[in-house]
Symmetry: C2
Subunit: 368 residues, 2 copies
Amino acid sequence: MGVNPESKKSKKVGSGRRATLKEVAAEVGVSVATVSNAYNRPDQLSEELRVRIFEAAKRLGYSGPDPLGRSLRKRRAGAIGVLYADRLSYAFTDPAAVMFLEGVSFAAEEAGLGLFLVPGGSGTSGVGEGVLSASVDGFVVYCVSAADPLIGAVIERRLPVVLVDDPSRESVTSIGIDDEGGASAAAEHLAGLGHRSFAVVSFKLTLEPDRGLADHARQESANNEDTRSRLRGYKTAIEAAGASWEDVPVYECPENTPEEGKAAAEVLLGREPRPTAILTLSDQLAFGVMEAARGLGLSIPGDLSIVGFDDVSEAARTTPPLTTVYQPHVEKGLKAGRKLIAQLEGEDPGEPELLPTRLVVRGSTASP
Amino acid sequence: MGVNPESKKSKKVGSGRRATLKEVAAEVGVSVATVSNAYNRPDQLSEELRVRIFEAAKRLGYSGPDPLGRSLRKRRAGAIGVLYADRLSYAFTDPAAVMFLEGVSFAAEEAGLGLFLVPGGSGTSGVGEGVLSASVDGFVVYCVSAADPLIGAVIERRLPVVLVDDPSRESVTSIGIDDEGGASAAAEHLAGLGHRSFAVVSFKLTLEPDRGLADHARQESANNEDTRSRLRGYKTAIEAAGASWEDVPVYECPENTPEEGKAAAEVLLGREPRPTAILTLSDQLAFGVMEAARGLGLSIPGDLSIVGFDDVSEAARTTPPLTTVYQPHVEKGLKAGRKLIAQLEGEDPGEPELLPTRLVVRGSTASP
DNA sequence: CTGAAAGCGCTTACAG
DNA sequence: CTGAAAGCGCTTACAG
């Protein structure tokens, strides 16, 4: 029978010391290998013995091999890590990030893996601490600028990696979207409606973000590939329409939130001449722009046309509905996850992929 | 100098075999203990030696102690597990779940822990497989019915646990909200407006969900504590208003989605007498009800009053805005996470807590 | 300031 | 069908 080592300290469930494989083996009078086999290779022992082992396990409160021991031995953590540059909790605040995670989690589930959300941002510990200490088999790196030291930490770990929205490292698998194409389609659309006076609301441009108008040099220094591409798309289309990019104010927001977008728009709409169209780098920013316009008594799209980027589900439900650039967030996450899993299984992750974007014209844009 | 063992197979970054503590020790000519100390207890060795060790580590491509080995030795996974009953990917689809996760992730970040999302649902592997194999230090259990075998798997693991929205296990820490109070406030509100003809759109009632009207017996058999409480709240207030609960059709939806809510409403609104008010168990369901009403040409709230539950951010932005019961999703997640972390640190997780709910009256309710 | 030794809990050839 | 042994990579008293 053996005395249950837990009976002494009978605190709440969960606080007791777990039994181990070794203890179960001792209880049954077999070797640890046999107990291990009972769980992992049922064909390696008689059914009768297997049942006896499970009974003993139950008696001792043993719930199967400890994942920690097993992982070390098998050199497999059983989880894929998702690295997000900002605070983890902030990721759940951004609908685009949430959809992306939905896709990744789908891929993880397919493969029977867990999803480990790695604290990347400025937590209590140093930069990259989370990356260095996460028990994962690989990383999906999302929303992390190529210049961020976090990327260095990830590379150092020498685990399989998929970089999302950042094709800058040739040697690393990546997946992204056609940022430039989407952006230029949006700007072309506005130009086609007759707009010539534009303004842009942008993400942060460097690791040390500013809040305010960004001059040409600063725009050029943008170190997020998607930010660069979207700005380039806007620029190309605006110049093709015969307007000067030099005259287009680009406002940098340190964070991708409606609040920041609102603050940006309030500045941009106070300038002379007042822009007739505002292009943003995300729906989140565009929502803030809409709010600012309402606050100033401007009608959309009568006085001001607005376009977003992302086609988050809410974009279809604002008043008026937002014209924006669709990108397949869930699919991007799914494919990123699958590319990582392919690497884990020694398969070819495939070429860097660029998923298509598409302009979705709704009610927030019209002739000036 | 020593030959870098990786130089032979020069495939993509990430595919190389990692160096180990032992190899670094050999390279420098010190013991593994000293190398370990270099990373974990800088005061235990001379600065000069420490630098030499880091240089050697860099040379060999060693990025610091492997989390797997460290976790096993320290008996700490460095992550808190979140268990969700359905498919993981589905959690990201439900705005209430996303806010909850935001809160949990905030708590995890505070404590320098990762967030491990455990596949609970019907993946490729057996029930509880994800739970049994997750390398975590404890579980936050969300949206899992007390009757679900997953709970059994969690308990078996003998790790610290926090049960969310399910106070049924006395011995386990839990946190929830005042479901009944919120629900009865909502029904009272409708009764106060003069409604006497109600219908209810409910979550699934058992582990084997039905789609359709649920008779009294089935309502009673509901095994989710929050579902039971909300139904009880509706019932109490409706009966207090002098109406008969027997006459109130309760439609069970197998999933908490707008689509299901719509299907439910289409049936309920086809009945005679047509209800003048529909109470739902969530905003997600309520959104579907709104859609169904629109589809049938019914005006809200003129022909039909609708109330939701959750006060998801979208609830304020529908047309008309949704009257609903607010609950503090993020705070619930935050507190659940902190209670778990308190247990991990041997502190008192505190009493089971019941967070307050509050009726938020918006435009979707009016006199019949 | 540094090292030898034990051990965290497990799995996997291999031998019988 | 079962077991003895090695070892996954690390940390931690402990001794010097």
